[in-house]
């Protein structure tokens, strides 16, 4: 007897076979997304402190604006991600004559987001370890008239050794847990939209792999 939580992570095929046999229920997926959103918000706060401190000198309250934007953006971004990914999978699955409601797809994507919640927790621990070591450049009011100054400061911030190390670690974590999610989503889409394993793998794998390739590219381009 295994718990539903471990089934999502390690036996997704069986999990979705059972869960999707019943009625549509977005409560648990929404809670998973909410948990991910809260952790992302905390992570956003930690990561937003760097640019907020950097821009504090530009104008009074700038740091607060940056921090609020980072926190709210990270929180809402998780829900937006949920919708976009579900929509993308849903649209692609139409090409494979998939059947099933969009809510089912949302449900699947929500469940499948669980590994990324775990990944966010690990990233959060790494952030607590690395981010305080980042030396933050400072901008003044004159930066408003000189975008190059902001760009230079941002580049300097991103090229800080601690920041670079943190970015590399967090990117690897994100890729691992994104692929883990993709694994869950494939089985989920198979059941939610009645796709063959191959079609489900293409439906989920193509956008996810493309996304991961893009992430690897940005990592290399840093």
């Amino acid at each position: 007897m295994t718990s539903p939580l471990t089934d999502i992570l390690f036996r997704p095929d069986a999990f979705f076979e059972n869960i999707l046999a019943g009625h549509e229920n977005l409560k648990i997926p929404a809670l998973i997304i909410l948990a991910g959103g809260i952790i992302a918000a905390v992570l956003g706060y930690l990561m937003g402190e760097q640019p907020a401190t950097m821009m504090a000198g530009i104008m009074p309250g700038m740091d607060t604006i940056v921090l609020i934007t980072a926190v709210v953006g990270a929180f809402l971004g998780t829900f937006i991600f949920w919708l976009i990914v579900a929509g993308l999978f849903y649209i692609i699955s139409i090409l494979f004559k998939g059947e099933g409601s969009f809510n089912r797809t949302l449900e699947v994507v929500g469940y499948g987001y669980l590994p990324q919640v775990i990944g966010s927790v690990i990233t959060l621990i790494a952030a607590i370890e690395y981010l305080p070591r980042v030396a933050i450049p400072a901008l003044t009011k004159s930066a408003l008239e000189d975008p190059a100054m902001i760009e230079a400061a941002t580049t300097a911030l991103m090229h800080d050794p601690a920041m670079v190390e943190f970015t590399q670690i967090s990117t690897l974590i994100a890729i691992v847990f994104m692929l883990w999610s993709a694994n869950i989503w494939i089985f989920g889409m198979k059941h939610a939209r009645g796709l063959s394993p191959r079609d489900a793998a293409i439906c989920v794998g193509v956008p996810v792999v493309l996304y991961v390739i893009y992430v690897i590219y940005t990592l290399g381009a840093m």
Partner: protein
């Protein structure tokens, strides 16, 4: 009866006077021989060597070398045939008796009218019962003044900073000078002391003196050396130019390793202060100047004393809005308590305030490789899974 006795006595005295008196007023072989044993025993001039124009005294001591006869002298003069010395007082016209073995000193007031050289004024003494005595003794006119030499002085003066000047006073004359006093004066400067009493300096001797000067402007310092040659005042002057410049030995605190960080709107500037000078910098203080507004906890940072080549760290905190750079003042005191300030601008905008390195280590091979491997494992795993399921 008594009147007759008084009259007889008076007559006898008159007879004695008439008979004996004329006998002493004339030269006799004995009186000439006696005069021959009278000689000038000692001659002294005060001062020993005259400056031209000096007034002094000449003392001739005449001794009667007879053991049993006195001599009567009645006219003593001093004259200089070259007329380089003038007797301006002390002409002895009265008679005086010099007993056997006794001495008598004749003092004249003289004035040196000539230039540098050796002169031989003539002393003459008339005997009542014989001829005259003549004596010529050397006296010198020497116009060599005292020498005032600067032995040591600062390489450069700084406004308001006390510095010591070391002098040597030398007496190259053949006689001692007295009441030597050094007087220092100048505009816009303070001297400690302004008058120094040195006293007497013997011939060929030197005396060391020093004074401190605190200049406030570049006005020369006038050093006047007053001294007496006998009773004649003389002076020699020397000018010491005051030129403000960089003291090559002064302490020279320099800020380095300056790092700027902004935390919550408060700027933190940290760095080191190195003393690149040759003197100790006391009470080194670092603070920010307007437009920056110093803020706690480090409005002012006292580094303390820094010996040459020593260094200390500092940290200051301040608020500064809308400025590219902030002047940071570094002040210290020298051994005399004079305060010196140096101001250095510290950029707080992006450019120089960065404490990070732009070198990110190049292309991140390992992370990218790891990511690619992960993706390949994922894709490969699924490809394998799908192929197996198809069978």
């Amino acid at each position: 009866m008594q009147k007759t006795r008084i009259l007889l006595c008076s007559l006898l005295i008159l007879l004695l006077a008439a008979g004996i008196g004329p006998a002493y007023a004339y030269s006799t072989p004995e009186s000439i021989a006696a005069a021959g044993k009278v000689y000038v025993d000692n001659v002294s001039y005060d001062p020993n060597a005259f400056f031209s124009g000096d007034i002094g005294t000449a003392s001739y001591t005449v001794k009667n070398g007879n053991t049993d006869l006195g001599v009567v002298v009645n006219h003593a003069t001093l004259s200089d045939p070259s007329q380089k010395f003038s007797m301006i007082g002390g002409d002895h016209q009265s008679s005086a008796q010099i007993g056997p073995g006794q001495s008598h000193t004749f003092t004249f007031t003289v004035r040196a009218d000539g230039s540098d050289g050796f002169y031989y004024p003539v002393f003459s003494l008339s005997f009542r019962d014989a001829d005259n005595l003549f004596a010529r003794e050397m006296v010198r006119i020497d116009n060599t003044p005292l020498l005032l030499t600067i032995k040591d002085k600062p390489d450069a003066f700084t406004a308001g900073k006390k510095k010591t000047v070391y002098l040597e006073v030398a007496n190259p004359r053949v006689n001692a000078v007295e009441n030597v006093i050094l007087e220092v004066s100048g505009q816009g400067a303070e001297f400690t002391p302004s008058r120094i009493y040195i006293g007497s300096i013997g011939p060929g001797k030197t005396a060391l003196v020093n004074f401190s000067v605190t200049p406030n402007s570049e006005a020369p310092v006038l050093m006047t050396l007053h001294y007496d040659n006998g009773n004649n005042p003389h002076e020699v002057t020397k000018e010491l130019p005051i030129v403000f410049g960089i003291d090559k030995k002064a302490a020279e605190p320099v800020m380095s390793n300056v790092q700027v960080k902004n935390t919550g709107g408060t700027w933190h500037v940290t760095g080191d202060v190195n003393n690149a000078g040759l003197e100790t910098a006391n009470t080194v203080i670092v603070t920010s100047l307007p437009p920056a507004v110093p803020e706690d906890p480090y409005k002012v940072y006292v580094v303390g004393a820094l010996k040459p080549d020593d260094f200390g760290s500092f940290e200051i905190t301040f608020a500064a809005d809308g400025v590219e750079s902030v002047p940071v003042k570094l002040s210290y005191k020298d051994a005399d308590g004079n305060v010196y300030d140096t101001i250095q601008d510290v950029r707080i905008s992006t450019g120089l305030s960065l404490t990070t390195t732009s070198d990110s280590g190049g292309f991140p091979v390992m992370p990218v490789a790891a990511a690619i491997v992960i993706v390949l494992v994922f894709v490969g795993g699924w490809a394998y899974y799908l192929r197996r399921n198809r069978k």
